[in-house]
Symmetry: C2
Subunit: 246 residues, 2 copies
């Protein structure tokens, strides 16, 4: 298990860095991740630039490149930081369904608190410690199901996909457009109004009906039940597989 070929970031993230010669590093990837996450939380992902992160830390732009070899690396660090350690412990007698629900809700909470996570352009599979930790927890949820490893993996990814998608949808409907100085309500209403301007009821009867019902301009209680509703469906799909295997 030599670290030789591993990218620098990974060695730093996993704490595999050995004694080195030169001056002691003044910051850590952890510092960098914290600073970057803070910026993204406050001003959105586009506000995260190498120079901004460095400035907030009190160093020059290029200093970051001693820890991170590219902006993609920075993104990876940010994700690791945003997810943090998977801190939920499954109740002793909980079945896979309950465990997976807890996992999904924890993931949802992360995404709700850091909506920019869904905008991070992914270019590599997750290899950071916390990401692997979440993966471990997700797979453990299926420990006693009799599923094959491949099936456990697929099932976990399915739930992950669902959580990401539904959260994206929800934050997208509430947070996204409020950057232009619009409240979410105003943004919703503007959307509905424009749809109304554009959509011919004869050609788009179903959209018109939805529009007329106010479903589009009123998102009350949408977010609340939507998550559980869909998750139940997804878990049912997995349950079919589990039953077949046992």
């Amino acid at each position: 298990m030599s670290d030789d070929e591993l990218p620098r970031v990974l060695r730093l993230l996993w704490g595999h860095e050995e004694r080195r010669r030169g001056p002691k590093p003044a910051m850590s990837i952890h510092d960098i991740g914290t600073a970057a996450v803070k910026i993204a939380d406050a001003d959105g992902l586009p506000a995260v630039s190498m120079s901004r992160v460095a400035r907030d830390l009190g160093y020059t732009t290029m200093s970051l490149y001693r820890y991170v070899s590219s902006k993609d690396d920075l993104y990876a660090v940010m994700l690791d930081e945003a997810y943090g350690e998977f801190a939920v412990s499954y109740p002793a007698r909980a079945g896979w369904r309950r465990r997976m629900t807890l996992w999904a809700e924890a993931a949802r909470d992360v995404l709700t608190q850091h909506p920019w996570v869904l905008q991070v352009p992914l270019s590599e599979p997750p290899l950071s410690p916390n990401q692997v930790g979440w993966m471990e927890a997700g797979l453990q949820a299926f420990a006693d199901t009799g599923l094959t490893e491949q099936e456990k993996l697929s099932s976990m990814l399915l739930v992950d996909v669902y959580v990401r998608g539904i959260t994206q949808l929800m934050t997208y409907m509430t947070v996204a457009n409020s950057a232009d100085g619009l409240t979410e309500q105003e943004a919703d209403q503007l959307y509905a109004k424009r749809l109304d301007q554009l959509v011919d009821p004869e050609r788009y009867p179903a959209v018109s009906a939805a529009l007329g019902s106010g479903s589009l301009s009123d998102d009350s209680d949408f977010a609340v039940n939507e998550f559980d509703f869909g998750l139940k469906g997804v878990l049912n799909g997995i349950a079919a597989l589990v039953d077949r295997r046992s």
Copy 2:
């Protein structure tokens, strides 16, 4: 239904542009969309820049801004172009389940053919003609279900979320990393190898087990059945709701 307050792009996309004074436009948003999509298909989304699109069309960078007021607008045009008109017609006697399956498969096909769609940073809700057309088709699938408009919308979005997520997962596992001159197989193996380097079997038993089973380095037949598997689960979730309403 005046177009007064509508952004230019929308008027152009919907063909609501009236007679104007100056010289006749030399290109159309359609041309721009086609060019941009071609670039994204060939070289990926990051390759799509204002200058590149303009150059490919034979004009200067700034000329695009006569049609599109920002890069976000360009993205909207690209999405409209990529989705195209929803061309599937539901069989006469098909139930909502069959209709929604057709819709989902059509959406999957679009995403498979234009993987970059999932990387487009969304900043506004969909208002382009083709997007609305897909929305209409999706809502129509639930026409005779007795669901409320809100529920139809939620159900459609749920399926959409699923399709986007699962497709992202699949293309992400096969296409993404092949940019660095790695085949997908090589990328998978590199990933598995690095995980193996980093993951302590005692601390990450489930990940280790998955790794040991080869599930991570061998993605054969993953894509094939995965889509239907998950979609069935999602539709079952919706079916529960439909049954309750009828």
